[in-house]
Subunit: 152 residues, 2 copies
């Protein structure tokens, strides 16, 4: 089944290079498409401290999406993991998802911290982070996931 | 910019009715599209306790997506909030996103708990829940969000 989406806006940042690490302190602007949205669309989003940003890895376009298992970041010290046991950008549907800190809403622009997306990235959706949707119990993850994120 | 996605699989559950509450104890199967994926795609996903399931609200099709501000669940006791300050299904691009408990991986089938999606829902992506991507500080949310989720 094919599903056609339309970006709701774009990422504006000085970061144009899709390197893998040190994203934590990036501050980024998301400009909504003003032909479709007014300030109403972001009303009250700043009453939440965090927002989930869904975006499209547009630069992964040329690559064939990995469908099977491979070593995360091609690091053979880490075990093989399926594409759905990883979060890398070279994946089916190429949707990225990051929980960001809400800094400020200004009309049709949202300012966030911690978004790991490069300039011009199409944004697909914004969802407020609701505490009731967080994992209900302590999360468990493999050691490689901790190591992978240690420099992120 | 138009973006075309293809579902990676479908939700299989006895729940066929998109009512709003009591989703917490649902156990659900996600069957990958076996014309494209093998068991490799889910390898190691069960080393994570939680998974983020991205899916498509296919039954919201007929409705015009809300683009502006409205009362969550049309409850006028709650304040107006923009569509991007809410998580309801009637939204641009109609992407749903839920953090679910991983129960079991069986070949190309993933069994989860807590997925608020009805039978036949197209699934867009699966991402392991990595602790390092969780909010770094205590989350803040408005009172209406707590009330909305109290019966979910």
């Amino acid at each position: 089944m094919n599903i056609t989406l339309t970006s709701i806006g774009h990422v504006r940042t000085i970061r144009a290079d899709p390197t893998d690490d040190n994203w934590d302190n990036e501050t980024t602007r998301i400009d909504l498409d003003t032909t479709r949205f007014t300030a109403d669309a972001l009303l009250s989003l700043d009453s939440f401290s965090q927002v989930e940003v869904l975006y499209w890895f547009h630069h992964a376009e040329a690559a064939i999406s990995a469908l099977g298992a491979h070593h995360p970041r091609d690091n053979t010290a880490w075990p093989l993991a399926g594409i759905f046991a990883q979060r890398g950008k070279n994946r089916p549907n190429r949707i990225g998802l990051t929980i960001c800190k809400v800094l400020k809403v200004e009309c049709t622009t949202l300012h966030v911290e911690g978004l790991d997306a490069i300039d011009s990235t199409p944004v697909l959706d914004l969802k407020p982070w609701m505490i009731g949707f967080a994992p209900r119990e302590n999360a468990r993850e493999p050691q490689w996931a901790k190591e992978l994120l240690s420099g992120y």
